[in-house]
Amino acid sequence: MSASTETTKAPAQPLSTPASKPDGNPLLRLILKRLGLSAVLLFAVSLMISGGIEALPGDFATTYLGQSATPEAVENIRKDLGLDRPWAERYLSWLGGIAHGDFGTSWASRNSVGEQIANRLGNSLFLAFFAALISVPLSITLGMVAVQFRDRWPDKIVSLASLAAISLPEFFIGYLLILFFAVKLGIATFPATVYDGMGVMDRLSAIALPVATLVLVVLAHMMRMTRAAILNVMSSPYIETAELKGLGAWRIIAHHAAPNAVSPVVNVVALNLAYLVVGVVVVEVVFVYPGIGQYMVDAVKVRDMPVVQACGLIFAAFYILLNMAADMIAIIANPRLRHPR
């Protein structure tokens, strides 16, 4: 699924097609192929989530009613939840419902899952958006600084900080920030409650700490990967040639390194945004933030399967889409594919 497997396959294709064939645009073909792959993947994931839940042992009705439930009561609740229908039928109606935004009804609260998700997804995306807005420019800058001052103290600090951040659990960073900024200094709010009709400024100040946590979590990964990506380009022979030709540092970076570093760096960004999607789950629980991650964790605890299924699918969809975006950008930014031979 990585960019490398896609791009290594690419050169083989034009060779296999006859030279007389006119539709020789490998770029377009690769992108369409990647799109199709993502669609298949998404479908397979939905099948796996639904089928996996069916195949794994564990019965909700008994969990719901407790061990001492009579068989009749279990049977009733199964009928009530529609579990007596065959799996294929339930899967198809689930899929059909999703197609027009109906994710089913929660077993625990009897609310519409789709409505809940619509509310909470916005909150989660709000959080992730601001985290990305801060962390992406920051980490790219820091990554470049680390490369520029390679093996000197700024680089050492960057690698030390990223080592620490990779090893710190999200919730530890979160509680550390809460204790320091909300409890000791009193300059931030906890818990991060947001509600409808809240002013933008209030909302921003409420999410300050969760965003800071997410930024810290993602920053290290992104910085490390940016550093590696740029370093990879900077240590290639043609950069050395440019240096030996006597070109200035900025000319080398702008004209020689940047065009080739864009695609790995953008790839890094997209991959880390995908990582952000997951980080949101823990951070929302820490800050009692009404997002989709919190919703999912609560549902898992009471085994509210329609909610778990729907949230799982949405998280997977975001993850797949961002990974697809990463691959596509890598494909588009690859100059070898823009000029088919």
């Binding site: 042992p57 080592l163 530890f172 993850y319």
Partner: protein, 275 residues
């Protein structure tokens, strides 16, 4: 193996991991109080009789930390070993056999990796009964997808070497090729990967426990202890941060060792030692 050649950072890592393992092995003998004994007030401050204070039920935090080391390390280690065994076996088999076996295994692996690990674990744990064995198995299977990916790449690199072909032409079986030809030549990157996966397992287990889906109370484990004491943060009680710091400490130490192993592996291969 020259002890002088081990850098300071790696020594810090080795000593830290050794302390954690010591606590895990000899926990019941060195802990001042029992794992679930209520011995004092709720959230007693650190110092005096209780070095780190007490938790939300008045249990000694230090004792629970020591007992927690046992649970956390044991479960994380078991999951990592299992995931490695599974991932390595399948990836080497795929790389050596090739063809349809490789295709099927790799596509299934791609599919599993297309769902974020935590989300996958949440979905699966929502269905499965809550038990330690289930937890270890879920962690191991999900983790093995990452091991598989690395293992396949490494094994493919080695599988095209002349000595593997020579062994194959000699008529050696697949088992021999995997264990006698490929494995010894891929040990260094795999060892580093093992450390990386172990550190990740500790964090993953702690996250699951923190979310209330990992190790169940009253057994002490570090992630669960953070969850138990998190409400204290609002009153300025730092009891939740101590187990959190323990998780971070162990993960950092393991990562320090991994960094050293990676550098060593790349310098053995003649690399420039870049990140």
């Amino acid at each position: 193996m020259n002890f002088r050649a081990i850098p300071l950072s790696a020594w810090i890592g080795i000593i830290g991991v050794a302390i954690a393992f010591f606590c895990a092995i000899f926990g019941p003998w060195i802990a001042p109080f029992g794992e679930t004994d209520v011995v004092g007030d709720v959230w007693a401050p650190p110092g005096g009789e209780f070095l780190f204070g007490t938790d939300n039920l008045g249990r000694d935090l230090l004792s629970r930390l020591i007992f927690g080391a046992r649970t956390t390390i044991l479960v994380a280690l078991a999951a990592t070993v299992l995931s490695f065994a599974l991932g390595m076996l399948l990836s080497f088999a795929a790389a050596v056999t090739g063809g349809i076996v490789d295709q099927v295994l790799s596509r299934v692996n791609d599919l599993m990796m297309s769902i974020p690990m935590l989300i996958f674990a949440l979905v699966v744990l929502a269905v499965l009964p809550q038990s330690l064995l289930v937890l270890v198995l879920v962690m191991a299977v999900l983790d093995s997808t990452r091991v598989y990916r690395l293992g396949r790449a490494v094994a493919l690199d080695v599988a095209v070497m002349e000595f593997v072909e020579a062994a194959r032409l000699r008529g050696e079986g697949t088992g021999w090729i995997i264990f006698r030809e490929i494995l010894p030549n891929t040990l260094a990157p795999l060892l580093a990967e093992f450390g990386l996966r172990f550190a990740f397992s500790i964090l993953f287990l702690s996250t699951l426990s923190f979310l209330g889906l990992g190790i169940q109370p009253p057994a002490a484990d570090w992630g669960g202890m953070v969850k138990d004491n998190k409400d204290g943060i609002l009153f300025g009680v730092s009891a939740a941060l101590i187990p959190g710091a323990a998780i971070a400490f162990l993960a950092i130490c393991v990562n320090l060792i991994v960094d050293w192993l990676l550098k060593r592996a790349s310098s053995l291969r003649g690399g420039r030692g870049d990140g």
